[in-house]
Amino acid sequence: MHKVLYFSDEALLAGIRNEEEAALAYLYKQHYPMILHFVQNNNGTDDEAKDIYQEAVIVFYEKVKDQNLELNCQIKTYLYSICRRLWLKRLALKNRFAGMITDSDTFIQVDEEVAELEENELKFKKMGEALVLLGEPCKTLIEDFYIQDLTMQSITEKFGYTNADNTKNQKYKCLMRLKKLFFTLYKTEISSS
């Protein structure tokens, strides 16, 4: 990891857009202590702080990369606001929310972001579950093709199928099953919540 300093938010954003690893690391390291402090001050543990902070950073990162972030405050404030909302929700779930939390920073309204974030989080979770339910070798096959972007040829070799058509057939069956699993899981979750 290179020790690169990003002196301004703009430089940091540019770095993230260019997919610089150092920029991500810098972003992560810079603001974690603040969130840790906040969570610890509000009945939370280190692990919980890490969880919600990572969620917030992921959202931020994805948004920056997709160029659909209209940031009209500091990165710090943005992250803090997201974490704050997430933490409030968690506290509510844990039934420990006494209606008061100690704020350590200014924050902005992030309802929209959080709603989107939650939807994405749900999708992510359900896809994970669906993949697990799919089982091997389908899981690896689907992951190789759609996530690792391997070619049909290399997948055929890896799995020892006789030809690419066979692989295609296999992939088709797997994808159909995955589709079914995913939509079942996802839809039931949406209707139940």
């Binding site: 990891m1 992560y28 390291k29 990572q54 994805e62 994405n120 999708k123 759609y146 995913f182």
Partner: protein
């Protein structure tokens, strides 16, 4: 078969592989065929979600790595006693100047402290040295006498081979207190002695056998152990038990040099050095060698034993009161000595003139020679 066909079409359409006629045909079918459109939508959602899932998964992993590297305790490295050599070298190059300064400051502090403690102590010693015990260091005097001789004659004196005569390391004065060979002197004269001899004014020398010491009152009692020793006979003076009066005329006989010296003065205080009630202050000029000499009053009573003087005062000498001598003798008679010491009681000097007193006295005052090699 039908389904897999459709799936291939959809896949190719989404990948942008359809062109020209095929593309327009497919798009036409999409508009008319509701089920196909729905299938396409579902397919798109699943693949998009898969992409999203993959990206997020890798991002999560990255963040976990970052977190682990930055905020979690690293597994402990094996610690070598002084780090590795290169690091030591770098550290030394960077900081040798500072280290040198720190070391010299430390050295300076240590030695400065030691030096000042020493200085302070020696100042304390100087204070203690205000009181000076009066035993004579013979060797010192001998050397200085030689130096004087040399200076006068201008050449190394080839001193004639004298009869072998060793004056001893230290000397003081002592006097008899009983007819059968007991003498008194100061404790500091005989402290640390290997052997002690006494010599009277006529040069007769006897060896001393036993020494009884009383450090608290600076007194020592000697016993002559010589077969040729005939005994002192009747002593001319008596030991006075009561305290003497202020202003009384007193005198002493002693050996501050090889010959007997008479000193006279008066009793100037009932207490001694720093208010010591066991001794008198007297105004007799005394010198090293006078220690242990008898202090007598006009009537020839023994009233004390010369012990020392104060350096920063003029004419302030001290003598231990005779009452403590008497006390010591009585104690010795009880437990240490074979036969009780009989102190002389009768005083044959009363009324005699000073010169007659001295004549009688001088046979009973001795030079004490101390050898402690």
């Amino acid at each position: 078969m039908r389904k897999i066909e459709t799936y291939h079409w959809i896949e190719r359409y989404l990948a942008g592989e359809l062109t020209g006629e095929e593309l327009s045909n497919f798009e036409l079918r999409l508009k008319t065929d509701q089920a196909l459109a729905e299938q396409l939508e579902q397919f798109r959602e699943v693949t998009d979600t898969l992409h999203f899932y993959g990206q997020r998964k890798s991002l999560q992993q990255k963040l976990n790595t970052i977190h682990a590297q930055s905020f979690e305790p690293q597994p402990k490295k094996v610690i070598t006693p002084f780090g590795n050599k290169e690091k030591r070298q770098i550290f030394w190059n960077q900081h040798y100047a500072t280290i040198a300064v720190a070391a010299s400051v430390a050295l300076l502090t240590v030695f400065g402290t030691l030096f000042s403690i020493d200085l302070w102590r020696s100042m304390g010693k100087q204070q203690a040295a205000r009181y000076s015990a009066l035993r004579r260091e013979v060797e010192k005097i001998k050397n200085s006498q030689r130096a004087i001789n040399r200076a006068i004659t201008g050449n190394e004196t080839k001193s004639l081979p004298k009869a072998e005569y060793d004056p001893g390391n230290f000397s003081g004065t002592g006097f008899a207190i009983s007819a059968d060979g007991y003498l008194v002197t100061s404790y500091h004269v005989v402290s640390g002695a290997d052997s002690v001899f006494i010599q009277n004014s006529s040069g007769q020398q006897y060896k001393v056998k036993n020494i009884y010491r009383d450090q608290a009152h600076d007194l020592a009692i000697l016993k002559i152990a010589d077969d040729n020793f005939p005994g002192f006979g009747t002593l001319p003076y008596g030991v006075k038990a009561s305290e003497s009066d202020l202003g009384e005329r007193v005198y002493t006989l002693g050996y501050p040099r090889e010959d007997m010296v008479f000193g006279e003065g008066s009793l100037s205080s009932r207490t001694g050095f720093e208010g010591d009630t066991t001794s008198y202050q007297i105004s007799i000029p005394v010198n090293p060698g006078n220690s242990g000499g008898p202090l007598l009053d006009n009537q020839g009573n023994l009233i004390g034993v010369i012990s020392g003087k104060q350096l920063d005062l003029q004419g302030a000498a001290f003598a231990v009161k005779s009452a403590y001598l008497k006390q010591l003798v009585e104690q010795l008679s009880l437990d240490s000595v074979e036969s009780p010491i009989k102190l002389a009681k009768s005083n044959q000097l009363a009324g005699a003139s000073r010169t007659r007193q001295l004549k009688k006295l001088e046979d009973y005052v001795f030079i004490i020679k101390v050898y402690n090699n």
